[in-house]
Subunit: 443 residues, 2 copies
Amino acid sequence: MKRSEFIKASTVAGLGMTFFKPNLVFGRDDRKVRLGFIGVGGRGTSHLRRVLKRDDVVVTNICDIDKEALNRARDLVVQAGGKKPRGFSRNEVHYRDMVEREDMDGIIISTPWKWHVPMTVDTMNAGKYAGLEVPAAVTLDECWQLVRTYEATKVPCMILENVCYRRDVMAALNMVRQGLFGELVHAHCGYQHDLRGIKFNPGAEFGPDKGEGEAKWRTQHSIDRNGDIYPTHGVGPVATMMEVNRGNRFVHLTSTATKSRGLHNYIVEKGGVGHPNAGIKFTLGDIVTTVIKTARGETMVVSHDTNLPRPYSLMFRIQGTHGLWLKDNDSIYIEGRSPEEHEWESFAAYQEEFDHPLWRRYGEQAEGAGHGGMDFFVTHAFIESVKRKVSPPLDVYDAAAWSAISPLSEQSIAEGSTPMQFPDFTQGKWENRKPVFALDDDF
Amino acid sequence: MKRSEFIKASTVAGLGMTFFKPNLVFGRDDRKVRLGFIGVGGRGTSHLRRVLKRDDVVVTNICDIDKEALNRARDLVVQAGGKKPRGFSRNEVHYRDMVEREDMDGIIISTPWKWHVPMTVDTMNAGKYAGLEVPAAVTLDECWQLVRTYEATKVPCMILENVCYRRDVMAALNMVRQGLFGELVHAHCGYQHDLRGIKFNPGAEFGPDKGEGEAKWRTQHSIDRNGDIYPTHGVGPVATMMEVNRGNRFVHLTSTATKSRGLHNYIVEKGGVGHPNAGIKFTLGDIVTTVIKTARGETMVVSHDTNLPRPYSLMFRIQGTHGLWLKDNDSIYIEGRSPEEHEWESFAAYQEEFDHPLWRRYGEQAEGAGHGGMDFFVTHAFIESVKRKVSPPLDVYDAAAWSAISPLSEQSIAEGSTPMQFPDFTQGKWENRKPVFALDDDF
């Protein structure tokens, strides 16, 4: 089914497809999307640069409390041939003035995690599409705030989970949909990325005063929290394959954390035992393992592993009744198709054969867009959703369900790995909602 | 520390090293070990063949209720130049007559799982070393029976976990002990082996009447139980690295099972939907994921995956504060040693450099001994322990702790992944017991 047909069908059937309320004001030229940005640090600037390459976007407003970052971003717009966007940087809530302006259709939010929900809620309340970075929310209450604001306003928000668009992940999704794996049964995924060099600046420093970049604020989460505090890069892609919130849902999870060694060791290694940060107690276990059970009876093993030296890996394994893909050895086994019984074969030929239509169409354009090209697609999907005034392919229920893993995982660990039940953010709608993510080569 | 020194030291310190009670009778020639066998199906016969290659073993008695298997085994002994052993096959408890005989020092038990504990208990009570196949026990009560019988008799039993002796696993153990991984933090392991062709004979048959080999009895466990019913091949090796029961212990676990599809699908595929077995409800989830927490704060992810098509893999990953080994891509990363930061390197050179002393000494002899040579070592360790009248390197507490995973995992799943606490089978002795497994090139 083509997306356009799908939208018609679901609207007729009342399946919860969402459009702007009729009283919301859009740009005069519906081929142009007028965007604002809140947060133009590393990630926000990356979004901005991609957007500036498109001829269907006008950047009208930018907000950042860091004036230097703000001005650099505004200059980027001018350098790209645009009119200098209005700037907002007076204080931490100056963004509220920005979201109320009428010269925007959507706003991309790339700020420290604690600001994601307040900014998104204000954006939706002001009638603008919100594109928010991951994780969407930090607490369960915040997850509900997103959902309730959406349900009250019908203004969409999209969680900008770029890994859903990774080329191999989309090929695997394509294979899932074509039934190559049979019925899905199990998956592994995670965020296994040595972030010590990001959590600390040279000299083992961090925090609002001495830190730079994400070390300003991200490191504090490792002091305050023990759980999978960054689940969506792994979970998002698997959730689209397992049709979570669209015929399926997360039911419960357990989480178990290791001891915490990596961050302390790193400080001592870089700054010696006498370093002022050497006495800090990090709450975050070096590796947090979460096991999720879905309503359809699949399980997912999710790893959060950011404090130790290791090669980067999102640990993808997608397994069904006919076989499995294992990313870590770039291999696949499909019974009856793989030439040798019970022997791996290379994933390369499958990547070729099952390359997703989106990548076939936009692959060349995507190259160099960031993170191996996948960033192109997440930006593209957000802008096309705004432009066409349709529900984005990753929506508020995805944002809530995926992000809820963090607080549930923290609670599970605090209670000795006790299973935690997921709230049903869709309130039963998951049973009849249909998959919409990347159904064709459109967006 | 050499094993001989260690034994002296621990005896003096009263660390629980165990010897036969003085009133037990041993063979006149202490260079010869007199063995009996209970169970000479596939696995028992494999043990027998290895033993018959040694000149320090005399096989005196064999028991199997399958007369054909029994006679084949007795003939093997004669073919190897030995005296025909006495045979026991009258009924299921005829083994009790055998264990009481005085012409044995040890007995190797390779029977269906439900017989492991009764036979081992009777063997220990009769004053003979017991070498028992995996899993050692099926229920928690059985785990305790093993421990209590040992503590009452001081007659050792050894769990014959061959994977503890796999060449790459022992190299990894060597690396752990030399500190290459830093402080251990996390591990993955499991039993990922498509057993459909073992659980069913051609024609999708199984059970005491129509089944052959393990299909006679093993398949029923997939009907009756939902849990990690075969944990020790993965867990044993990791437990030796993490020094479980020897300075460390398993504290709790959670288990989560997927839906059950593989076995039913296989019956339908082989026999059609009308096959009499197509109506059977299999309780065992296709994939069971267990997460174990240890007293030292490590975690272990254990997978049981035996009902679906897949390449064989025990999923080993050993991770510490300096790096990790990942078996599935035959790679390793050690910070400060691996040439490229955050890039895998091949495990091959490490296998060479850290090959375990036992493999260096016996590798040539081990080749062809079964399962890539590792079977040689487990047999060797059992026989040497009996011969020298010392505690075996894998003992009754290992047997109990590793096997307890199954019933605890079943209970966790039955209660929605609720965490289950491990009994402390050592009753506190784990804190002071020292590692003994494979300390040198002796056994």
